[in-house]
Amino acid sequence: MKQHTICRLNDIIPDTGVCALIEGKQIAIFRTKKNDLFALDNYDPFSQANVLSRGLIGGTMIVNETGTDEEVLYVASPIYKQRFNLATGQCLDDGNVTLAAYHVALNNDTVMLQNF
């Protein structure tokens, strides 16, 4: 379990992603409009290409366990458009596919990957 410094917050345009190389692994880091941060594998299992950091971020309403509406944020792959929940890595278009999701946080102005 290690912490990794990735970049400055300003290196990521709001509502887009970047890709980080951490211990030889490609991790897609996303910054939302509200400056929330998320991290998933960059590898898109559907196209078998390392591209998820370049996907569009979107939101969709779902009814959560408590029965209330909640907006889930996701990234849509730029190749064949499958969508992945930013928080959990769960693919919204294929229940059998889940990407690894990582914990990412802001330390002052620095984006940090935690517990990697």
Partner: protein
């Protein structure tokens, strides 16, 4: 081969005894599914006996086996369902005897089993005319996967070059196509004077013959084969294996023969055991009544082995109806009846569209025939009507089956024909189409699954609002798929009837159509997505609304697409100003207006490609595509290209692509005007204008049309007096010829019209709607568009022109802008925290150029590196 039994014994039945099914073909299998649905597996122990060594498969798509050679792709049976329903499937076990008195059957292996209910689903077998020599190992039929395996094995023999199909009916032509696929020099030999005599009349058969011959198949009609002589003993080793001798004295050499001369009901078990007492039809087959019952108690027959009302039904849909009715009968529900089936067909034979409805030959007394023939394009259409020309009795369509669904509905539902029935088949006239609202509830929409308009409507009323729900609930559209457009129309129609607004919302974030959003953005001068979302939307936005809004913003204000507030909206291609490829690399497509390029610029393209090791190809749009650029290379590549005077070609944008041009009157001896000059002017004028979908143009220097202008969104053809303008053509998935919009225009008027049309398109089209689909959606058609653009009937012409001027003024080359902006360039790195590239991008060399490595190649390369 030994027999196998799949499935376990059912010990939980209410012990009504055994339900035995003979035959596990398409219909036998369909019966088992319906039986499970009716719960028969809980009352009976179900035994299915199959002569073939595999569970039921899709015979309709049999020919596809030659392409994929994967039998599992044709499989219809989910063995786990059979198993969990305790169905016992006995493969490779032919039933040889039926004892209808003691209610038992005996298999080839001598096993005897009693039945309470017996269903015969033995299908049919191909008829082979009794020609001497037909036992030769190179003579085959075309019915089972095993047959296809044998045909394949022969076709692969080195000496086998030539194949003959005996029989020019539907299946014969399908077999001929298969022989062509196998690379054989293919012949069709038909006894009758024409092809497809059952479905087509003589003239239709003749057109079909010509079209098929144009594909390289030789068709011999009116040929009666007398003898098949084997040449294997011949001293000449180059001789063909077989020689067919015809009654007219001629002969034909070949290496193999496939018989497809019709089918006969598989009634062998009964014919060979007359003591079983089951009645056969006069010409074979097992006689059944409307409840699919034979004359023997508790014995049913369904599918191609059954004869109802003197007819055998050689299609799968009627067999499926019989299967459903039979399962219902056994379950005690006796209401459903089999009352015959419509044998109309529409299909593509060797790439030729063919349709046949009802009385194709005009055999009915006093019937009238209407004909349309276009020998140049190989189109033939015929309508057969009643003497008072009020009702459609039949139709033949060859070369163009667009009218099929419309005609079939008129035929099946006995609907009154319009005043001039011929208008139904004439080209380029407004055709009276059958609206869904005119159809009765009983109208069959999906013939594969026999789903009526009423059934779809009630499914919608019960909550199946989407096409995918309708498919699940009714199965409509899940067979051949031909009914998909009508299913969709029926669902929309019913939703409207139920008072739902057919939802034209862009997505869950905007309860507006693209057109509404365009007006909002224009009227309120909105410049960003967030502004629009806050004022008129909800939630975060998504991959549908973001690029659509980005495109509208660009169409209105033409701001640089990579401004920070616009960047997150762009589709992946606009996002990096290049088309993303399957491996995550990009293509680079510089603009080459009109396809005209200097030697110096060509050299630069070559040098850049060489320096960055890119794959190069001439595109279909008269320019050069450089593939395999890694994201981090794009800025360097474009710096060199921009320096050499290139601009971005917007291959990634929904915007003007290319203006294709012929060489025109500068060089061409026929050219009447400067097509290149006009193409350059137009490409320069409209480059970078973002629109609902891409726009392509073409300019030809004379009516020989070398630039294929009539297949483009805008096509210009030079005349002695100016330019003819064609609009709203399309290639791609649904090709459409552009329509002549105005003639003999001077260049200024031409440009003005194009300005107006493009802006009017941007204003009113739906998202991702090409001009061709847009034009079809315009109520009032071409005349309306001409009125708006030429006569300014809406009084907006000036406004449209001004809006276009603004876009043209604001044009920047996005790449020139990007390479000069260090902030923007930061994004062109694979990693935010490292200078490395993506190690999963691996190329191999093919034909002296790179291409992405396949997975297998990648792992091979990695192994080498490790070792």
């Amino acid at each position: 081969m030994s027999s196998t039994t799949i499935g376990t014994k059912n010990t939980n039945t209410e012990s009504k005894g055994n339900l035995v099914v003979i035959g596990n073909g398409m219909v036998g299998h369909h019966f088992v599914e319906r039986a499970i649905e009716q719960g028969l597996h809980e009352q009976f122990e179900i035994h299915v006996f199959a002569e073939e060594d595999r569970p039921a498969y899709d015979r309709v798509y049999l020919s596809s086996y030659f392409e994929h050679k994967d039998a599992s792709k044709l499989n219809l049976v989910d063995l786990t369902t059979y198993d969990s329903s305790k169905i016992q499937l006995h493969l490779n076990q032919r039933v040889v005897e039926i004892d209808s008195i003691n209610q038992s059957i005996t298999t080839q292996a001598g096993e005897k089993i009693e039945y309470s209910e017996l269903v015969l689903a033995t299908g049919s077998y191909p008829f082979v005319p009794p020609i001497p020599g037909r036992e030769h190992p190179h003579c085959h039929v075309y019915r089972t996967i095993a047959d296809l395996d044998e045909i394949l094995a022969i076709a692969e023999l080195p000496k086998v070059k030539k194949g003959v199909v005996v029989g020019g009916g539907l299946l014969g032509l399908e077999a001929a196509k298969a022989l062509v696929t196998l690379g054989l020099d293919t012949y069709v030999v038909e006894f009758a004077p024409q092809l497809m005599g059952v479905q087509l009349d003589a003239a239709g058969g003749e057109i079909l013959k010509r079209k098929i011959e144009a594909l390289g198949v030789t068709v011999l009609t009116g040929k009666n084969t007398q003898d098949i002589v084997s040449n294997t003993d011949s001293a000449d080793s180059d001789a063909n294996y077989l020689t067919m001798q015809f009654t007219d004295g001629s002969s034909l050499d070949t290496d193999m023969i496939v018989f497809s001369a019709g089918i006969r009901p598989q009634d062998g078990i009964i014919k060979n055991n007359p003591e079983c007492g089951i009645t056969m039809g006069a010409r074979g087959g097992i006689l059944i009544d409307e409840q699919c019952r034979t004359n023997a108690e508790h014995v049913y027959a369904i599918g191609e082995c059954a004869v109802w009302n003197n007819q055998v039904f050689g299609l799968v849909a009627p067999g499926y109806s019989m299967a459903s009715i039979c399962a219902a009968q056994i379950a005690g529900n006796q209401e459903q009846r089999f009352t015959g089936a419509d044998m109309s067909t529409k299909l593509k034979l060797m790439g030729v569209d063919v349709g046949s409805i009802g009385d194709a030959h005009g055999a009915a007394d006093n019937s009238l025939s209407y004909l349309y023939q276009n020998p140049a394009e190989g189109i033939y259409k015929k309508l057969v009507t009643t003497a008072n020309n009020k009702r459609l009795l039949g139709a033949v369509l060859v070369g163009d089956t667009e009218d099929y669904n419309n005609l079939l509905q008129l035929y099946l539902n006995d609907i009154d024909l319009p005043a001039h029935p011929e208008s139904l088949i004439l080209p380029n006239v407004e055709k009276p189409m059958m609206g869904i609202d005119n159809l009765p509830d009983t109208a069959t929409i999906c013939s594969c699954y026999n789903v009526s308009k009423g059934a779809i409507c009630s499914a919608v009323a019960n909550g199946a609002y989407s096409i995918s729900d309708i498919k699940t609930v009714t199965s409509a559209g899940t067979g051949c798929g031909g009914c998909a457009p009508m299913v969709k129309d029926t669902v929309s129609y019913q939703l409207k009837t139920l008072g739902f607004e057919v939802n034209n919302d862009l997505c869950e974030h905007f309860a507006y159509s693209r057109q509404d959003l365009y007006s909002l953005i224009r009227v309120h001068g909105i410049k960003t997505f967030d502004e629009l979302l806050t004022e008129h939307g909800r939630g975060h936005g998504c991959e549908i609304c973001k690029p659509t809004v980005a495109s509208i913003l660009a169409s209105c204000w033409n701001d640089y697409v990579l401004k920070p507030e616009l960047t997150p909206l762009q589709d992946s291609n606009d996002y990096y100003l290049g088309n993303i490829q399957k491996d995550g690399t990009y293509s680079v497509v510089p603009r080459v207006p009109g396809g005209e390029i200097t030697a110096d610029k060509l050299i630069v393209l070559g040098q850049v490609a060489k320096e960055f090791n890119l794959y190069t190809k001439i595109t279909g749009g008269q320019r050069v595509d450089l593939f395999g650029a890694r994201m981090e290379q794009l800025p360097d590549i474009w710096t060199q290209l921009v320096q050499a005077g290139f601009e971005t070609g917007h291959a990634y944008g929904k915007s003007l692509r290319t203006v294709k041009s012929c060489i025109g009157n500068n060089w061409c001896r026929y050219g009447v005007d400067d097509s290149i000059g006009l193409a350059l002017r137009l490409e320069d004028r409209y480059k970078g204008v973002r629109s609902p979908h891409k726009i392509k143009m073409g300019v030809s220097g004379c009516m020989r049309e070398c630039a294929e202008a009539q297949s483009k969104d805008f096509g210009m053809i030079a005349t002695e007096n100016g330019w003819n303008l064609f609009v709203c053509g399309n290639g791609g998935i649904t090709p459409r010829h552009a329509e002549l919009f105005a003639t003999d225009l001077d260049t200024e008027t031409l440009v003005r019209y194009i300005d107006r049309i493009i802006m009017f398109y941007i204003k009113t089209a739906d998202k991702l709607q090409r001009t061709s689909k847009w034009r079809e959606s315009l109520e009032g058609g071409l005349e309306y568009l001409q009125a708006v653009i030429i006569e300014d009937s809406l009084g907006i012409a000036e406004e449209l022109e001004a809006q276009m001027e603004l876009l043209i003024e604001n044009y920047v080359c996005e790449w020139a802008e990007t390479i000069n902006d260090t902030e923007k360039l930061k994004r062109f790195r694979h990693f935010v925290n490292s200078e490395q590239g993506d190690d999963n991008v691996v190329f191999v060399t093919e034909r002296d150029q790179i291409r992405p490595a396949t997975d297998a190649e990648k792992s091979a390369i990695q192994v080498v590196e490790l070792a």
